[in-house]
């Protein structure tokens, strides 16, 4: 058959159940987006109950928010935004047919920033929260105002940022796999779908943090 003779019908990575490589790419992206929609609702459940408890106990939530340090939240936001840039540049390097060394460079930089995010969180936020005794159920001896409401807020804080951190760690695992795949010459300007799809996941985790930061750290203002 004539189609089989042309390279265009068999680009690298082409799976034959698809009409052409374009449809395959679109299907891959769509599939990832469907998963991300489930993730929106997954985090959305927590955002929903956060909204309700904040509306019902605003003063306690303000008090709880003041237990967090804005500078760490803001720094981590900047770190994640930077990592989204480097991830986008990694995909672009693949798209434009750059050498694998360049793709790996951007991927490693993304991983470094992701690890920095988790590291900063663990060392300067969660460890300090442990020392200060504001981890509900683990180490709690807060005796300031609005204690029950602050406890509820801290529950939300640890569940929401904890779930987010788990997603970050999973993302780091995915990036590791991508680095290995790139090193093994799996990608080219024609085929870089795993990179692009993982990029969608990474950007999504960034977006969740973009909302977590103001909702957890900046409640009621800091004036």
């Amino acid at each position: 058959m004539a189609e089989l003779a042309t390279h265009g019908a068999h680009p690298p990575g082409f799976a034959h159940q698809f009409e052409d490589i374009e449809q395959q790419r679109d299907a891959g992206r769509l599939g990832m987006w469907v998963f991300l929609v489930t993730e929106i609702l997954f985090f959305g459940g927590m955002f929903t109950s956060y909204t309700i408890y904040r509306a019902l106990h605003l003063a306690a939530f303000i008090q709880g928010s003041h237990q967090l340090e804005v500078k760490f939240g803001a720094t981590n936001t900047a770190v994640l935004i930077f990592s989204s840039l480097t991830m986008a540049l990694a995909i672009r390097a693949a798209q434009t047919g750059r050498k694998k060394g360049q793709i790996i460079f951007w991927l490693l930089l993304t991983m470094l920033l992701g690890a920095l995010f988790v590291g900063l969180k663990l060392r300067f936020e969660w460890y300090r929260d442990y020392v200060d005794g504001i981890i509900p159920g683990v180490h709690w001896f807060y005796n300031g105002p609005q204690a029950p409401g602050v406890k509820m807020f801290m529950c939300f804080y640890f569940f929401m940022t904890g779930l987010h951190a788990i997603h970050m760690v999973v993302g780091l695992g995915i990036l590791t796999v991508l680095v290995i795949m790139t090193a093994r010459n799996r990608f080219s300007a024609e085929y870089y779908s795993p990179l692009e799809i993982s990029g969608l996941y990474w950007h999504f985790v960034d977006i969740v943090w973009i909302f977590l930061f103001p909702l957890l750290y900046l409640i009621g203002g800091r004036y």
Binding site: I21, I52, F204, F211
Partner: protein, 120 residues
């Protein structure tokens, strides 16, 4: 069966680095802005401003970093559906929880406003 002999990148829009950098800058500015405004007393509007900035940042990430600006209509519909369902979840949950303890005395739609304001 269509014959695609053109280079397979023909439909893949490659975003220029300058666009990525601009978006990155806008995101950083938004972060600085939202942090700065938190230290200014705007009362109820603090939350509105913070959420507006957050939504703007999200739209920038979705459109440019996630390439949705160049994505198919089907993809966009799926994304919008996701946010729509999130909206349903938040709206219905809030209308349940925040209207508990109400006595059944018909008072008209202006009873809703104080409940809405409690969100901010």
């Amino acid at each position: 069966m269509s014959d695609h002999t053109e280079p397979s990148g023909h439909s893949e829009h490659i975003v220029p680095v300058s666009t990525y950098l601009l978006v990155f800058l806008a995101l950083m500015v938004g972060t600085a802005l939202t942090t700065w405004i938190a230290y200014i007393d705007l009362g109820r509007w603090n939350t509105v401003v913070a959420l507006t900035i957050a939504v703007t940042k999200m739209v920038l990430v979705v459109l440019f970093f996630m390439h949705v600006k160049y994505a198919t209509g089907l993809t966009r519909v799926v994304i919008l559906a996701g946010f729509f369902w999130l909206g349903i979840m938040i709206t219905l949950s809030c209308s349940d929880e925040l209207t508990r303890g109400w006595e059944i005395v018909p008072q008209g739609w202006n009873m809703i406003l104080p409940v809405v304001f409690r969100l901010f």
